[in-house]
Amino acid sequence: MAKVLVFIDNPGASLKKSSLELLTLARSLGECTVAVNGDLSDGVAAGFAEYGVGSVLRPSVQDLNDYLVAPKAAYVAAAAETSGAGIVLLDNSPEGKEIAARVGIRLNAGVITDVVAVDPDGTAHKSVLAGSYNTACKATTPVSVLTLKANNVTPEPAPAPTTPEIATVDVPNVAAAARITAREQKVASGRPDLTDARIVVAGGRGMDGDFGPVEELADALGAAVGASRAATDAGWISHDAQVGQTGKTVSPQLYISAGISGAIQQKAGMQTAKVIVAVNKDAESPVFEIADFGIIGDVFEVLPQATAEIKKRKG
């Protein structure tokens, strides 16, 4: 049976949904070992048991968080060698992809990012060129390193829980790495992360400086807030919210586009959403060409009305 290594970075008190997706996929491919960085809390250990993890590896050094990428990659590569993994799975965050990149070089392994599904033979599926092609690709090397996009696997606990063994992996010394000298936590919005969110409400130029209606609709739906580049460049909302070619690509169940015309780069960020809703007062907006449900109307009337209606129905 294939051996699969999953890397989970600083899980905190309990496993995130994207981590549960990684563990579920890993179990479908073979015997799962987790390499964890950071504290192994009781909640996380219980999650590993519930998701059928065979063994848990921890790094021999405690300061991986003080450096950028390189030492974490050295740890993951060492963990892959220790566990004899043929497949290494990581999340598709920017840091996850960079760790994967360096692990690939350390293990002479092909790296595939933005993966949405993996066949039992290791063939990975992803979409490229802004969602316009679906491709099947495979590493031609003995080991493959894959980063999985969130929201593509339904988390499922193992049929029977396991009692994972815990072992330590010696982390090789990395001569040159950038040191993190300060870290400033951003104020938590209480909303889901944009890349993992099941629902995204995004606003654009048509919001005219006022993201209030977008945020209120997002909160009523339990959604993340996104924005077009025009809106972030105008300073109406933080750059972190940018969806599209130079921002984040999202693939939620539902994407609500408000006041966004839908130029090709903007479509790029939303094309793989399951359902697209668009609200724009310009009937000629390209976004209507791809919307499942389009409303030609004023965002400042339609969004608040929808928010009020959702609140009413939810009681």
């Binding site: 990659a73 070089i105 990012t113 031609t140 950038a178 300060a182 009937a283 409303i295 339609v302 929808a306």
Partner: protein, 263 residues
């Protein structure tokens, strides 16, 4: 200071883009300098100018790997103000994945001698994998500072700010280093008339794999560690129901969401 900027000639994202031919690689007609690489070049030019520019011996070398057309990315970089251009081109490079690309680029950077900084964009706008900067750093044994939204160099050290979803980090690294920059770092300049004229006098060095000591079997389809088995054009999304607001569109929107079981 000697700064190498990686510049890529990519299909223009303003138009529909296609995969074609052997290995399903991107069709490179209608290609331009990757928009995200302009930020990298601007960052390099600002660092060089702050140190007295080329008169004080600062070099900004635009390096592009790719077929004949890729030289256009180098030309545009020279027009913007790069001091030298290098075009790494060889038929054997076609089809290189990130691993093979980083191998060839690492060899080209070594060939250029003592480089203080390699600056790249945050991703290419065609492959969009963001793998190459990190793989290049690993191959060169250098620290990487990726997704930098600010960049300062003082003596032999660089300081940058990097924004993640939940935190912002300040990072420091000794030179030489590999840096990738986001589109938040600066506002790239347009080439002006003087720059366009000056670029005609600047030389572009063409390098082959033999020049940089890379065996053809290490790159291209042969040297890649991943292969694309199939590519299918996604059926275009078709328009669904479009309505015009008559005062109740918000309620109709909620009806639609309820029918789709999305509430």
């Amino acid at each position: 200071m000697k700064i190498v900027v990686l510049v890529k000639h990519v299909p223009d994202a303003q138009f529909d883009r296609h995969l074609s031919g052997e290995g399903n690689t991107a069709d490179r007609d209608e290609s331009i300098l990757s928009e995200l690489d302009e930020y990298a070049l601007e960052a390099a030019l600002q660092l060089a100018e702050a140190r007295g520019g080329s008169k004080a011996g600062n070099q900004v070398i635009a390096l592009s790997m790719g077929p004949d057309g890729a030289v256009n990315a180098v030309k545009k970089s020279l027009q913007m103000g790069a001091t030298e251009g290098v075009h790494l081109t060889d038929d054997a490079l076609a089809g290189s994945d990130a691993a093979a690309t980083s191998l060839a680029l690492a060899a080209a950077v070594r060939h250029l001698g003592d480089v203080d900084l390699v600056i790249t964009g945050m991703a290419s706008t065609d492959g969009e994998t963001s793998l190459v900067p990190a793989q290049l750093a690993e191959r060169l044994g250098l620290p990487q500072v990726t997704f930098a939204s600010t960049l300062e160099v003082d003596g032999g050290r660089l300081t940058a700010r990097r924004d993640a979803d939940t935190s912002s980090e300040t990072v420091e690294a000794p030179l030489p280093a590999v840096v990738s920059v986001t589109d938040q770092i600066n506002e790239p300049r347009y080439p002006n008339f003087k720059g366009i004229i000056a670029a005609k006098r600047k030389s572009i060095t063409t390098l082959s794999l033999a020049d940089i000591g890379v065996d053809p079997s290490q790159v291209g389809f042969a040297g890649s560690w991943t292969s694309v088995a199939s590519a299918e054009q996604r059926p275009p999304r078709t328009a669904g129901t479009i309505i015009t607001d008559e005062g109740d569109a918000g309620i109709k929107l909620v009806d639609f969401l309820a029918a789709q079981k999305l509430l």
